[in-house]
Protein backbone atom coordinates (compact mmCIF):
# COMPACT_ATOMS: atom_id res chain seq x y z
CA UNK A 1 0.00 0.00 0.00
CA UNK A 2 2.69 2.50 0.97
CA UNK A 3 5.88 3.31 -0.84
CA UNK A 4 8.95 5.24 0.18
CA UNK A 5 11.29 5.11 3.11
CA UNK A 6 10.27 4.60 6.71
CA UNK A 7 10.60 7.90 8.52
CA UNK A 8 12.05 8.20 11.99
CA UNK A 9 11.12 10.64 14.70
CA UNK A 10 13.55 12.54 16.92
CA UNK A 11 11.49 13.52 19.97
CA UNK A 12 12.40 12.32 23.45
CA UNK A 13 10.26 9.62 25.03
CA UNK A 14 9.82 11.10 28.52
CA UNK A 15 7.97 8.07 29.87
CA UNK A 16 8.82 4.70 28.32
CA UNK A 17 6.12 2.16 27.35
CA UNK A 18 7.35 -0.30 29.95
CA UNK A 19 4.30 -2.55 30.22
CA UNK A 20 6.11 -5.13 32.33
CA UNK A 21 7.25 -2.51 34.83
CA UNK A 22 3.74 -1.05 34.93
CA UNK A 23 2.24 -4.51 35.48
CA UNK A 24 4.59 -5.01 38.45
CA UNK A 25 3.58 -1.61 39.82
CA UNK A 26 -0.13 -2.34 39.46
CA UNK A 27 0.30 -5.81 40.95
CA UNK A 28 1.79 -4.28 44.09
CA UNK A 29 -0.72 -1.42 44.38
CA UNK A 30 -3.18 -2.08 47.20
CA UNK A 31 -6.74 -2.99 46.28
CA UNK A 32 -7.89 -2.97 49.89
CA UNK A 33 -11.00 -0.93 50.59
CA UNK A 34 -9.83 2.06 52.67
CA UNK A 35 -11.08 5.57 53.30
CA UNK A 36 -8.89 7.83 51.17
CA UNK A 37 -10.41 11.18 52.11
CA UNK A 38 -7.70 13.77 52.72
CA UNK A 39 -6.95 17.42 52.12
CA UNK A 40 -5.54 18.63 48.81
CA UNK A 41 -2.39 19.66 50.63
CA UNK A 42 -1.89 16.16 52.04
CA UNK A 43 -2.64 14.53 48.68
CA UNK A 44 -0.10 16.67 46.81
CA UNK A 45 2.52 16.25 49.54
CA UNK A 46 2.07 12.50 49.58
CA UNK A 47 1.61 11.70 45.89
CA UNK A 48 3.26 14.40 43.74
CA UNK A 49 7.04 14.37 43.87
CA UNK A 50 9.59 16.61 42.16
CA UNK A 51 10.51 15.03 38.85
CA UNK A 52 7.28 13.06 38.47
CA UNK A 53 5.52 12.83 35.13
CA UNK A 54 2.16 14.50 35.78
CA UNK A 55 -1.10 14.64 33.89
CA UNK A 56 -4.25 16.64 34.46
CA UNK A 57 -7.74 15.42 33.54
CA UNK A 58 -10.65 17.24 31.97
CA UNK A 59 -10.10 19.64 29.12
CA UNK A 60 -7.93 22.61 30.02
CA UNK A 61 -10.54 24.90 31.50
CA UNK A 62 -13.39 22.40 31.71
CA UNK A 63 -13.66 20.02 34.68
CA UNK A 64 -10.07 20.56 35.82
CA UNK A 65 -8.74 20.21 39.32
CA UNK A 66 -7.69 23.82 39.91
CA UNK A 67 -7.25 23.08 43.61
CA UNK A 68 -4.54 20.48 42.99
CA UNK A 69 -2.88 22.56 40.27
CA UNK A 70 -2.65 25.53 42.68
CA UNK A 71 -1.31 23.28 45.42
CA UNK A 72 1.42 21.98 43.12
CA UNK A 73 2.46 25.60 42.54
CA UNK A 74 2.07 26.47 46.23
CA UNK A 75 4.29 23.54 47.26
CA UNK A 76 6.77 24.68 44.58
CA UNK A 77 7.00 21.28 42.92
CA UNK A 78 9.76 21.28 40.31
CA UNK A 79 11.00 19.41 37.26
CA UNK A 80 7.72 17.73 36.54
CA UNK A 81 7.04 16.10 33.21
CA UNK A 82 3.66 17.18 31.84
CA UNK A 83 1.20 15.69 29.38
CA UNK A 84 0.06 18.78 27.47
CA UNK A 85 -3.12 17.05 26.37
CA UNK A 86 -5.94 19.49 25.56
CA UNK A 87 -4.37 21.75 28.18
CA UNK A 88 -5.25 25.43 28.58
CA UNK A 89 -5.75 26.93 32.05
CA UNK A 90 -4.13 23.91 33.68
CA UNK A 91 -1.01 24.50 31.59
CA UNK A 92 -1.15 28.22 32.35
CA UNK A 93 -1.16 27.59 36.12
CA UNK A 94 1.79 25.17 36.03
CA UNK A 95 3.71 27.43 33.62
CA UNK A 96 3.16 30.35 36.01
CA UNK A 97 4.70 28.21 38.76
CA UNK A 98 7.48 27.02 36.42
CA UNK A 99 6.75 23.52 37.74
CA UNK A 100 7.66 21.41 34.68
CA UNK A 101 10.76 21.12 32.54
CA UNK A 102 9.56 18.66 29.89
CA UNK A 103 6.30 18.41 28.05
CA UNK A 104 4.50 16.12 25.65
CA UNK A 105 2.68 18.69 23.55
CA UNK A 106 -0.71 18.26 21.94
CA UNK A 107 -2.25 21.63 22.79
CA UNK A 108 -0.51 24.16 25.05
CA UNK A 109 -0.13 27.94 25.68
CA UNK A 110 -3.57 28.75 24.21
CA UNK A 111 -6.95 29.14 25.87
CA UNK A 112 -8.95 28.37 22.72
CA UNK A 113 -11.03 31.44 21.78
CA UNK A 114 -10.00 33.22 24.98
CA UNK A 115 -6.48 33.92 23.65
CA UNK A 116 -2.89 32.93 24.34
CA UNK A 117 -1.14 32.89 27.70
CA UNK A 118 1.83 35.33 27.74
CA UNK A 119 3.59 33.54 30.60
CA UNK A 120 3.10 30.10 29.07
CA UNK A 121 4.59 31.42 25.83
CA UNK A 122 7.52 33.11 27.60
CA UNK A 123 8.22 29.90 29.48
CA UNK A 124 8.02 27.73 26.37
CA UNK A 125 10.14 30.16 24.32
CA UNK A 126 12.83 30.37 27.03
CA UNK A 127 14.33 26.99 26.26
CA UNK A 128 13.66 25.84 29.84
CA UNK A 129 11.21 23.17 28.71
CA UNK A 130 12.06 20.20 26.53
CA UNK A 131 9.19 19.36 24.18
CA UNK A 132 8.03 16.33 22.22
CA UNK A 133 5.16 16.96 19.80
CA UNK A 134 1.93 14.95 19.48
CA UNK A 135 -1.72 15.65 18.77
CA UNK A 136 -4.85 15.37 20.90
CA UNK A 137 -5.88 11.99 19.49
CA UNK A 138 -2.43 10.45 19.48
CA UNK A 139 -1.54 11.60 23.01
CA UNK A 140 -4.95 10.30 24.12
CA UNK A 141 -4.31 6.97 22.40
CA UNK A 142 -0.94 6.75 24.19
CA UNK A 143 -2.94 6.78 27.42
CA UNK A 144 -5.32 4.20 25.93
CA UNK A 145 -2.40 1.90 25.11
CA UNK A 146 -1.33 2.06 28.76
CA UNK A 147 -4.91 1.53 29.91
CA UNK A 148 -5.15 -1.53 27.66
CA UNK A 149 -1.84 -2.88 28.90
CA UNK A 150 -0.12 -2.92 25.50
CA UNK A 151 3.16 -1.15 24.71
CA UNK A 152 1.76 0.67 21.68
CA UNK A 153 -1.31 1.33 19.58
CA UNK A 154 -1.27 1.96 15.84
CA UNK A 155 -2.87 5.09 14.36
CA UNK A 156 -3.29 6.79 11.01
CA UNK A 157 -2.55 10.33 12.17
CA UNK A 158 0.80 12.17 12.54
CA UNK A 159 2.09 10.59 9.31
CA UNK A 160 3.86 12.82 6.81
CA UNK A 161 4.27 15.81 9.12
CA UNK A 162 6.83 17.53 11.32
CA UNK A 163 4.52 16.79 14.23
CA UNK A 164 5.56 13.18 13.61
CA UNK A 165 9.22 14.12 13.14
CA UNK A 166 9.38 15.83 16.55
CA UNK A 167 7.27 13.16 18.24
CA UNK A 168 8.60 9.91 19.66
CA UNK A 169 6.23 7.79 17.54
CA UNK A 170 7.57 5.22 15.10
CA UNK A 171 6.43 4.31 11.63
CA UNK A 172 5.55 0.64 11.23
CA UNK A 173 4.05 -1.44 8.44
CA UNK A 174 0.79 -3.26 9.11
CA UNK A 175 1.56 -7.00 9.22
CA UNK A 176 -1.69 -7.69 7.35
CA UNK A 177 -2.10 -4.88 4.82
CA UNK A 178 1.43 -3.56 4.49
CA UNK A 179 0.23 -0.01 4.99
CA UNK A 180 2.20 2.57 6.95
CA UNK A 181 0.97 3.33 10.44
CA UNK A 182 2.17 5.46 13.32
CA UNK A 183 2.98 3.35 16.40
CA UNK A 184 2.15 5.30 19.56
CA UNK A 185 4.04 4.25 22.70
CA UNK A 186 2.00 3.68 25.87
CA UNK A 187 2.15 6.59 28.32
CA UNK A 188 2.03 5.82 32.06
CA UNK A 189 1.95 9.09 34.07
CA UNK A 190 3.50 8.76 37.53
CA UNK A 191 0.65 10.77 38.98
CA UNK A 192 -2.54 12.37 37.66
CA UNK A 193 -5.44 14.36 39.00
CA UNK A 194 -9.03 14.20 37.81
CA UNK A 195 -11.91 16.36 39.02
CA UNK A 196 -15.21 14.50 39.14
CA UNK A 197 -18.83 15.17 39.94
CA UNK A 198 -19.11 12.59 42.68
CA UNK A 199 -16.99 10.01 44.45
CA UNK A 200 -17.24 7.91 47.57
CA UNK A 201 -14.51 7.93 50.22
CA UNK A 202 -12.84 4.92 48.60
CA UNK A 203 -12.54 6.55 45.19
CA UNK A 204 -15.39 5.08 43.16
CA UNK A 205 -16.17 8.01 40.93
CA UNK A 206 -18.61 9.27 38.31
CA UNK A 207 -18.33 12.01 35.70
CA UNK A 208 -21.39 13.61 34.08
CA UNK A 209 -21.30 14.66 30.44
CA UNK A 210 -18.27 14.07 28.26
CA UNK A 211 -15.26 12.42 29.87
CA UNK A 212 -12.61 13.56 27.35
CA UNK A 213 -9.68 11.14 27.92
CA UNK A 214 -10.22 10.54 31.62
CA UNK A 215 -11.36 6.93 31.36
CA UNK A 216 -7.98 6.03 29.91
CA UNK A 217 -6.04 8.54 32.02
CA UNK A 218 -7.39 7.06 35.26
CA UNK A 219 -6.30 3.60 34.16
CA UNK A 220 -2.91 4.60 32.73
CA UNK A 221 -1.77 6.53 35.82
CA UNK A 222 0.33 4.88 38.48
CA UNK A 223 -1.03 7.17 41.18
CA UNK A 224 -4.34 9.00 40.95
CA UNK A 225 -5.68 11.92 42.97
CA UNK A 226 -9.39 12.67 42.69
CA UNK A 227 -10.99 15.93 43.64
CA UNK A 228 -14.76 15.83 43.73
CA UNK A 229 -17.65 18.25 43.88
CA UNK A 230 -19.55 15.84 46.08
CA UNK A 231 -18.67 12.95 48.38
CA UNK A 232 -21.44 10.37 48.23
CA UNK A 233 -22.21 7.08 49.89
CA UNK A 234 -21.11 3.96 48.03
CA UNK A 235 -24.75 2.95 47.76
CA UNK A 236 -25.31 5.87 45.39
CA UNK A 237 -22.54 4.58 43.14
CA UNK A 238 -24.10 1.13 43.16
CA UNK A 239 -27.47 2.65 42.29
CA UNK A 240 -26.12 4.06 38.95
CA UNK A 241 -23.26 1.73 38.03
CA UNK A 242 -23.44 2.55 34.29
CA UNK A 243 -22.16 6.04 35.17
CA UNK A 244 -19.12 4.84 37.13
CA UNK A 245 -15.93 5.62 35.25
CA UNK A 246 -13.33 5.10 37.96
CA UNK A 247 -13.32 2.13 40.36
CA UNK A 248 -11.74 2.66 43.76
CA UNK A 249 -8.65 0.51 43.29
CA UNK A 250 -7.25 3.01 40.78
CA UNK A 251 -7.38 5.83 43.32
CA UNK A 252 -4.88 7.01 45.95
CA UNK A 253 -6.56 10.12 47.35
CA UNK A 254 -10.08 11.56 47.40
CA UNK A 255 -10.32 15.29 48.15
CA UNK A 256 -13.67 16.99 48.68
CA UNK A 257 -13.41 20.28 46.77
CA UNK A 258 -16.71 21.94 45.85
CA UNK A 259 -16.19 24.38 42.96
CA UNK A 260 -12.88 22.60 42.42
CA UNK A 261 -12.83 23.39 38.69
CA UNK A 262 -13.20 27.17 39.22
CA UNK A 263 -12.48 29.36 37.25
CA UNK A 264 -13.10 26.55 34.80
CA UNK A 265 -16.47 25.17 33.81
CA UNK A 266 -17.98 22.19 35.63
CA UNK A 267 -20.73 20.88 33.33
CA UNK A 268 -24.12 20.61 35.04
CA UNK A 269 -22.75 22.65 37.99
CA UNK A 270 -21.26 26.05 37.08
CA UNK A 271 -20.01 27.82 33.99
CA UNK A 272 -16.52 29.23 33.59
CA UNK A 273 -15.50 32.63 34.91
CA UNK A 274 -14.30 34.36 31.78
CA UNK A 275 -13.59 37.60 33.65
CA UNK A 276 -11.15 35.89 35.99
CA UNK A 277 -9.54 33.96 33.13
CA UNK A 278 -8.99 37.36 31.48
CA UNK A 279 -7.54 38.65 34.76
CA UNK A 280 -4.97 35.84 34.57
CA UNK A 281 -4.00 36.76 30.99
CA UNK A 282 -3.78 40.42 31.98
CA UNK A 283 -1.59 39.68 35.01
CA UNK A 284 0.79 37.62 32.89
CA UNK A 285 1.77 40.55 30.70
CA UNK A 286 4.91 41.11 32.74
CA UNK A 287 6.72 39.00 35.27
CA UNK A 288 6.44 41.43 38.18
CA UNK A 289 2.68 41.72 37.84
CA UNK A 290 2.42 37.97 37.58
CA UNK A 291 4.49 37.47 40.74
CA UNK A 292 2.19 39.77 42.68
CA UNK A 293 -0.84 38.01 41.23
CA UNK A 294 0.48 34.57 42.20
CA UNK A 295 1.40 35.90 45.65
CA UNK A 296 -2.14 37.16 46.12
CA UNK A 297 -4.01 34.12 44.85
CA UNK A 298 -1.74 31.11 45.38
CA UNK A 299 1.44 31.59 47.44
CA UNK A 300 -0.32 33.91 49.87
CA UNK A 301 -3.35 31.70 50.38
CA UNK A 302 -3.58 28.64 52.60
CA UNK A 303 -5.80 26.65 50.33
CA UNK A 304 -8.30 26.70 47.50
CA UNK A 305 -11.17 27.81 49.78
CA UNK A 306 -9.28 31.03 50.48
CA UNK A 307 -8.88 31.61 46.74
CA UNK A 308 -12.62 31.16 46.25
CA UNK A 309 -13.27 33.61 49.07
CA UNK A 310 -10.93 36.15 47.47
CA UNK A 311 -12.83 35.75 44.21
CA UNK A 312 -16.14 36.69 45.75
CA UNK A 313 -17.13 33.49 47.54
CA UNK A 314 -20.62 32.07 47.55
CA UNK A 315 -22.22 35.06 45.94
CA UNK A 316 -20.00 34.97 42.87
CA UNK A 317 -20.17 31.19 42.67
CA UNK A 318 -23.96 31.32 42.75
CA UNK A 319 -23.78 33.59 39.73
CA UNK A 320 -21.63 31.05 37.89
CA UNK A 321 -24.16 28.36 38.80
CA UNK A 322 -26.85 30.51 37.27
CA UNK A 323 -24.78 30.87 34.08
CA UNK A 324 -24.47 27.11 33.61
CA UNK A 325 -26.59 25.99 30.65
CA UNK A 326 -26.87 22.27 31.47
CA UNK A 327 -29.52 21.42 33.97
CA UNK A 328 -29.98 17.99 35.54
CA UNK A 329 -33.01 15.80 35.00
Amino acid sequence: MSDGEMNTSMGTLFSPPDVEGARQFFAAKSRVLTDKLMSVSEAVTQFVHDGDYFSSGGFGMIRISTAVLHEIVRQRKKNLGFAGHTSTHDFEILAAGRCFDRCDVAYIVGLEVCGLSPQARRYMESGAVQVTEWSNATLGWRLKAAAMGVPFLPARALLGTETFKYSAAKEILCPFTGQKLAALPALYPDVSVIHVHRADVYGNAQIDGISVADWDLARASKRLILTTEQVVDTSEIRRTPELTQIPYWLVDAVCHVPYGSYPGNMPYEYYLDKEHLNEWLEAEKDVATLDAFLQKYIYGTQDFAEYLALKGGEEHLAELRAREPLQRG
Binding site: G4, Y107, C114, V212, K274
Partner: protein, 260 residues
Protein backbone atom coordinates in the same frame (compact mmCIF):
# COMPACT_ATOMS: atom_id res chain seq x y z
CA UNK B 1 -23.76 47.24 0.20
CA UNK B 2 -20.57 47.91 2.10
CA UNK B 3 -22.72 48.52 5.11
CA UNK B 4 -24.98 45.51 4.70
CA UNK B 5 -22.39 43.10 6.14
CA UNK B 6 -18.80 43.01 7.32
CA UNK B 7 -15.93 40.76 6.27
CA UNK B 8 -16.39 38.39 9.18
CA UNK B 9 -20.03 37.95 8.30
CA UNK B 10 -19.17 37.32 4.68
CA UNK B 11 -16.62 34.67 5.62
CA UNK B 12 -18.96 32.86 7.99
CA UNK B 13 -21.75 32.85 5.38
CA UNK B 14 -19.46 31.57 2.63
CA UNK B 15 -18.09 28.93 4.99
CA UNK B 16 -21.56 27.78 6.02
CA UNK B 17 -22.50 27.13 2.39
CA UNK B 18 -19.71 24.58 1.98
CA UNK B 19 -21.35 22.16 4.44
CA UNK B 20 -23.90 19.76 2.99
CA UNK B 21 -26.95 18.63 4.92
CA UNK B 22 -26.98 15.14 6.48
CA UNK B 23 -23.20 15.03 6.77
CA UNK B 24 -20.92 14.77 9.79
CA UNK B 25 -18.45 17.43 10.84
CA UNK B 26 -15.92 17.84 13.62
CA UNK B 27 -15.66 21.54 14.25
CA UNK B 28 -13.41 23.79 16.31
CA UNK B 29 -14.54 26.86 18.24
CA UNK B 30 -14.60 30.34 16.74
CA UNK B 31 -15.47 31.06 13.11
CA UNK B 32 -15.70 27.38 12.03
CA UNK B 33 -18.33 26.75 14.67
CA UNK B 34 -20.24 29.92 13.80
CA UNK B 35 -20.29 28.66 10.20
CA UNK B 36 -21.50 25.20 11.24
CA UNK B 37 -24.24 26.68 13.43
CA UNK B 38 -25.32 28.96 10.60
CA UNK B 39 -25.43 26.01 8.21
CA UNK B 40 -27.48 24.02 10.72
CA UNK B 41 -29.94 26.85 11.10
CA UNK B 42 -30.32 27.47 7.37
CA UNK B 43 -29.72 24.94 4.60
CA UNK B 44 -28.31 22.02 6.59
CA UNK B 45 -30.63 21.37 9.54
CA UNK B 46 -29.34 17.81 9.87
CA UNK B 47 -25.65 18.60 9.77
CA UNK B 48 -24.23 16.39 12.53
CA UNK B 49 -21.77 18.35 14.63
CA UNK B 50 -19.25 16.43 16.70
CA UNK B 51 -16.72 17.89 19.11
CA UNK B 52 -13.32 16.33 19.58
CA UNK B 53 -13.78 16.34 23.37
CA UNK B 54 -16.72 13.93 23.06
CA UNK B 55 -20.03 15.69 22.53
CA UNK B 56 -21.93 14.14 19.63
CA UNK B 57 -24.79 15.76 17.72
CA UNK B 58 -25.73 18.53 20.15
CA UNK B 59 -28.42 21.10 19.45
CA UNK B 60 -26.38 24.26 19.92
CA UNK B 61 -28.00 27.16 21.67
CA UNK B 62 -24.95 29.42 21.96
CA UNK B 63 -21.35 29.51 20.76
CA UNK B 64 -19.16 27.54 23.19
CA UNK B 65 -15.88 29.05 24.42
CA UNK B 66 -14.18 25.66 24.38
CA UNK B 67 -14.71 22.47 22.36
CA UNK B 68 -15.43 20.81 25.72
CA UNK B 69 -17.58 23.35 27.56
CA UNK B 70 -21.21 22.92 28.61
CA UNK B 71 -22.46 24.68 25.49
CA UNK B 72 -21.08 21.86 23.32
CA UNK B 73 -23.32 19.40 25.18
CA UNK B 74 -26.76 21.00 25.08
CA UNK B 75 -29.27 18.56 23.62
CA UNK B 76 -26.58 16.09 22.59
CA UNK B 77 -27.55 12.63 21.35
CA UNK B 78 -24.50 11.10 22.96
CA UNK B 79 -22.00 12.47 25.47
CA UNK B 80 -18.94 10.37 25.07
CA UNK B 81 -15.21 11.01 24.95
CA UNK B 82 -12.35 12.08 22.75
CA UNK B 83 -11.53 8.53 21.70
CA UNK B 84 -15.04 8.11 20.27
CA UNK B 85 -14.85 11.26 18.17
CA UNK B 86 -11.35 10.59 16.92
CA UNK B 87 -12.00 6.89 16.25
CA UNK B 88 -15.12 7.87 14.32
CA UNK B 89 -12.93 10.09 12.14
CA UNK B 90 -10.34 7.35 11.72
CA UNK B 91 -13.04 4.87 10.71
CA UNK B 92 -14.09 7.12 7.82
CA UNK B 93 -17.43 8.32 9.14
CA UNK B 94 -16.67 12.06 9.34
CA UNK B 95 -17.16 14.10 6.19
CA UNK B 96 -15.79 17.47 7.22
CA UNK B 97 -13.41 19.08 9.58
CA UNK B 98 -13.08 22.82 9.82
CA UNK B 99 -9.88 24.36 11.15
CA UNK B 100 -8.03 27.63 11.61
CA UNK B 101 -4.26 27.92 11.24
CA UNK B 102 -1.37 30.33 11.62
CA UNK B 103 0.31 29.51 8.30
CA UNK B 104 -0.87 27.66 5.20
CA UNK B 105 1.02 26.73 2.04
CA UNK B 106 -0.17 26.01 -1.50
CA UNK B 107 -0.81 22.35 -0.66
CA UNK B 108 -2.92 23.26 2.34
CA UNK B 109 -0.31 22.21 4.88
CA UNK B 110 -0.83 24.04 8.15
CA UNK B 111 1.42 25.35 10.89
CA UNK B 112 0.03 25.97 14.35
CA UNK B 113 3.14 24.90 16.28
CA UNK B 114 5.74 27.64 16.12
CA UNK B 115 7.36 30.51 14.30
CA UNK B 116 11.11 30.04 14.17
CA UNK B 117 13.49 27.23 13.45
CA UNK B 118 14.19 25.47 16.77
CA UNK B 119 11.27 23.60 18.31
CA UNK B 120 13.12 23.53 21.65
CA UNK B 121 13.51 27.32 21.63
CA UNK B 122 11.01 28.76 19.19
CA UNK B 123 10.73 32.44 18.32
CA UNK B 124 6.98 32.22 18.85
CA UNK B 125 5.44 29.19 20.51
CA UNK B 126 1.94 28.43 19.25
CA UNK B 127 -0.48 25.86 20.69
CA UNK B 128 0.64 22.89 18.58
CA UNK B 129 -1.56 20.46 16.73
CA UNK B 130 -4.38 20.15 19.21
CA UNK B 131 -6.75 17.95 17.27
CA UNK B 132 -5.87 19.53 13.92
CA UNK B 133 -3.32 16.95 12.77
CA UNK B 134 -5.72 14.12 13.64
CA UNK B 135 -8.76 15.68 12.05
CA UNK B 136 -7.03 16.74 8.83
CA UNK B 137 -5.48 13.27 8.59
CA UNK B 138 -8.67 11.32 9.22
CA UNK B 139 -11.72 13.28 8.06
CA UNK B 140 -12.64 13.25 4.38
CA UNK B 141 -12.58 16.96 3.65
CA UNK B 142 -10.67 19.67 5.46
CA UNK B 143 -11.85 23.26 5.40
CA UNK B 144 -9.77 26.16 6.68
CA UNK B 145 -10.87 29.67 7.52
CA UNK B 146 -8.18 32.33 7.95
CA UNK B 147 -7.26 35.95 7.27
CA UNK B 148 -5.47 36.40 3.94
CA UNK B 149 -2.00 37.97 4.06
CA UNK B 150 1.63 37.21 3.22
CA UNK B 151 2.42 36.11 6.79
CA UNK B 152 -0.24 33.44 6.62
CA UNK B 153 -0.27 32.30 2.99
CA UNK B 154 3.39 31.29 2.83
CA UNK B 155 5.66 29.47 0.39
CA UNK B 156 6.82 27.22 3.20
CA UNK B 157 5.33 26.76 6.65
CA UNK B 158 7.81 27.14 9.51
CA UNK B 159 6.58 23.83 10.90
CA UNK B 160 4.35 21.31 9.16
CA UNK B 161 1.92 20.65 12.00
CA UNK B 162 -1.06 19.38 10.06
CA UNK B 163 -1.07 17.61 6.71
CA UNK B 164 -2.54 19.18 3.63
CA UNK B 165 -1.49 17.50 0.38
CA UNK B 166 2.09 17.48 1.78
CA UNK B 167 4.39 17.68 -1.30
CA UNK B 168 1.61 17.20 -3.84
CA UNK B 169 -0.33 14.46 -5.64
CA UNK B 170 0.01 11.02 -4.05
CA UNK B 171 2.04 12.25 -1.11
CA UNK B 172 -0.67 11.71 1.50
CA UNK B 173 -1.22 8.11 0.41
CA UNK B 174 2.53 7.46 0.31
CA UNK B 175 2.80 8.79 3.85
CA UNK B 176 0.16 6.30 4.97
CA UNK B 177 -2.71 8.75 5.40
CA UNK B 178 -6.20 7.46 4.49
CA UNK B 179 -6.82 7.48 0.75
CA UNK B 180 -9.13 10.09 -0.69
CA UNK B 181 -8.84 12.55 2.17
CA UNK B 182 -7.36 16.04 2.08
CA UNK B 183 -7.83 19.78 1.90
CA UNK B 184 -11.13 20.89 0.38
CA UNK B 185 -11.75 24.61 0.75
CA UNK B 186 -10.09 27.66 2.22
CA UNK B 187 -12.23 30.65 3.14
CA UNK B 188 -10.13 33.78 3.57
CA UNK B 189 -10.77 37.48 3.96
CA UNK B 190 -10.23 37.81 0.21
CA UNK B 191 -11.58 34.72 -1.51
CA UNK B 192 -12.93 31.19 -1.51
CA UNK B 193 -10.31 28.69 -2.62
CA UNK B 194 -10.35 25.03 -3.54
CA UNK B 195 -7.61 22.70 -4.79
CA UNK B 196 -6.90 21.82 -8.39
CA UNK B 197 -7.61 18.14 -8.79
CA UNK B 198 -4.50 17.37 -10.88
CA UNK B 199 -1.81 19.29 -9.01
CA UNK B 200 -3.49 19.46 -5.58
CA UNK B 201 -2.51 23.15 -5.50
CA UNK B 202 -4.62 25.87 -3.97
CA UNK B 203 -6.82 27.61 -6.51
CA UNK B 204 -9.13 30.61 -6.15
CA UNK B 205 -12.71 29.71 -7.05
CA UNK B 206 -14.39 32.98 -6.19
CA UNK B 207 -13.18 36.44 -5.27
CA UNK B 208 -15.00 38.26 -2.54
CA UNK B 209 -16.81 41.38 -3.83
CA UNK B 210 -14.34 44.16 -4.61
CA UNK B 211 -11.27 41.91 -4.48
CA UNK B 212 -9.01 41.61 -7.54
CA UNK B 213 -6.64 38.92 -8.74
CA UNK B 214 -3.88 41.41 -7.98
CA UNK B 215 -5.02 41.70 -4.38
CA UNK B 216 -4.71 37.94 -4.04
CA UNK B 217 -1.23 37.91 -5.57
CA UNK B 218 -0.07 40.75 -3.35
CA UNK B 219 -1.26 38.96 -0.24
CA UNK B 220 -0.11 35.42 -1.05
CA UNK B 221 3.46 34.16 -0.50
CA UNK B 222 3.17 31.40 -3.12
CA UNK B 223 1.94 31.19 -6.69
CA UNK B 224 -1.82 30.99 -6.36
CA UNK B 225 -3.85 29.33 -9.10
CA UNK B 226 -7.14 30.76 -10.36
CA UNK B 227 -10.07 28.76 -11.66
CA UNK B 228 -11.00 29.16 -15.32
CA UNK B 229 -14.52 29.96 -14.28
CA UNK B 230 -13.47 32.43 -11.61
CA UNK B 231 -16.54 34.11 -10.16
CA UNK B 232 -17.45 36.69 -7.58
CA UNK B 233 -18.45 35.33 -4.19
CA UNK B 234 -22.18 35.49 -3.67
CA UNK B 235 -22.97 38.01 -1.00
CA UNK B 236 -24.71 36.94 2.21
CA UNK B 237 -28.45 36.84 1.84
CA UNK B 238 -30.67 38.77 4.21
CA UNK B 239 -31.80 35.50 5.73
CA UNK B 240 -28.24 34.34 6.36
CA UNK B 241 -27.33 37.64 7.97
CA UNK B 242 -30.42 37.66 10.09
CA UNK B 243 -29.89 34.14 11.42
CA UNK B 244 -26.18 34.80 11.95
CA UNK B 245 -26.79 37.99 13.90
CA UNK B 246 -29.83 37.02 15.90
CA UNK B 247 -29.36 33.30 16.50
CA UNK B 248 -25.75 32.28 15.95
CA UNK B 249 -23.76 35.18 17.35
CA UNK B 250 -26.06 37.74 18.95
CA UNK B 251 -23.23 39.00 21.17
CA UNK B 252 -20.96 39.63 18.20
CA UNK B 253 -18.14 37.48 19.60
CA UNK B 254 -17.12 36.30 16.14
CA UNK B 255 -18.68 38.77 13.73
CA UNK B 256 -18.06 41.85 15.88
CA UNK B 257 -20.54 44.16 17.52
CA UNK B 258 -22.77 46.12 15.15
CA UNK B 259 -22.85 49.86 15.47
CA UNK B 260 -26.40 51.00 16.09
Amino acid sequence: MANRYNLMELMVCVAARQLEDGKTAVIGTGMPLAAAMLAQKTRAPNLIIMFEAGSIAPQLVKLPLSVADSYTMTGGLMLSNMDETMATCQRGVVDYTFLGGAQIDMYGNLNSTMIGTDIQKPKVRLPGSGGANDLASLCWKTLVITPHDQRRFVAQVDFLTTPGYLTGPGAREAAGLPAGTGPYKVISTLALMGYESETKRMCVESLHPGVTVEDIRANTGFEMLFADNLIITLEPTDEELDVLRTQVDPLGLIIGKRST
